[in-house]
Amino acid sequence: MKARAFEYVRASSLQDAFEAFARVSGDCCYLAGGQSLVPSLSLRLQAPAMLIDISRIDELRGITLADDMLRIGALTRHAEMLTSPEIARHAPLLQLAAPHVAHPAIRNRGTIGGAIALADPAAEFPAVTLALDAEFEIAGPEGLRRVRAEGFFKGLYETALEPGEILTAIRIPPFRAGDRAVFDELARRRGDYAIVGAGIQGRVAGDRIESLRIAFLSVGPAPIRARHAEAAVAGHALSPAVIAGAQAALERDLDPAEDPQTSPAMRLHLARVLLGRLLGRLGEHPACKGAHA
């Protein structure tokens, strides 16, 4: 299980990275945390001619609040989602999802930018960005553009990133008073890819859910927003009937695939159970407190 040979360059700036990318003929990958890319190369599922190491580019670091948006640099490690006071305050849903992301040592090295760019349908952070209504900063040789999470995830490992582009940051509308966030997933073992998982961020007015965004992982080729379920809840108090309506609506939202361990019907069933439990918690708990199991 040794990777095929490849060339390696370390970029010191975005410009540097783009130039390296332009020079290579043949397959080329950017390397950040490498927690998914390296095993893929070891298994020889991928064999790029060159890796461009972008892990030391300062422009990709830092967590800041500016222009009423929380900006999380793409190289921010998963572990920082658990320890950063800015994230705890302004994007608690990320903090709630983080303990479910693989294991401690993977979280020490994996980056949020890498997780988003890979767009694994079973990964926590891509789904969570949908619930957060995040947008992504993308840099290319031609300059910077922004893409909303909604339009970013296009299919199985398919995103709006064009060849050579680098995802530089995630921008998130900050959590406000009255917002609530819950996340949970059903994984066979702690840290496994979940059979199904979901993150919800909602705004509460009195006992009514004014608006909410529900995003699922592991129930389709890409992270999925459950719009029908959202519609069944928005504007209502969280009664058992409303929750049941949202659970029923999931059938129209999700597109679970067959795999050797789990039938589509089972995934849908589990998604409904999970949604019911999460909505229950959304109703019960003050903002984000105790929301992860």
Partner: protein, 179 residues
């Protein structure tokens, strides 16, 4: 064949300069080039935890990075952590409690335990089990490892004179119970 690249890395306190193939993992570099065979390979895909080392003080899988990526950084392996006695108390309790059998997972367990105990001084058994979620052991059934980490935490707290959660709870129970 790709050309070799110069790497300067501090391993267990020693400055190492080497030329490595980019495809050489940090684990293979440590094991084959530096003879630091205490870092083990169990899956080469970041699942088993046998290859954990400290990179700039943080636990990482040596199979999930290339040696060239460690350029300019510091690496500590189980050999270095043993020689510096940074994990001497953990090792001693592991020994007394028989928290290892074949020993192949042990280096990774020690690295996890070391990092975990530096962040969590008074862990519950559930927290310890959670921290070990990425370390596979086929021999022990984990309980002895959980015991050993809990015991190390108690030992450290005792030496620092800090009562544990359990002790505090017991104390407050005792205070609340009229005798």
């Amino acid at each position: 064949m790709s050309s070799r690249i110069a790497v300067a890395v501090t391993v267990n306190g020693q400055a190492i300069s080497a030329f490595v193939e980019p495809r050489t993992s940090l684990a293979d570099f440590l094991r084959n080039d530096l003879g630091l065979t205490g870092t083990h390979l169990g899956c080469e895909m970041g699942v088993c935890g046998a290859c954990l080392v400290l990179l700039d003080g943080k636990a990482v899988h040596a199979c999930l990075m290339y040696a060239v990526q460690a350029d300019g950084q510091t690496v500590q392996t189980v050999e270095g952590l043993s020689e510096s006695r940074a994990i001497a108390d953990i090792q001693q309790v592991f020994h007394e409690r028989n928290a290892l059998q074949c020993g192949f997972c042990t280096s990774g367990m020690l690295v996890t335990a070391h990092e975990f105990l530096s962040k969590c001084q008074d862990p519950s058994r559930a927290e310890i089990r959670d921290a070990l979620s990425g370390n596979y052991c086929r021999c022990t059934g984990y309980e002895a490892i959980v015991d050993a980490i809990a015991e190390t935490a108690r030992g450290r707290a005792d030496r620092a004179g800090i009562p544990s959660q359990a002790e505090q709870a017991a104390k407050s129970d005792a205070e609340e119970t009229p005798s």
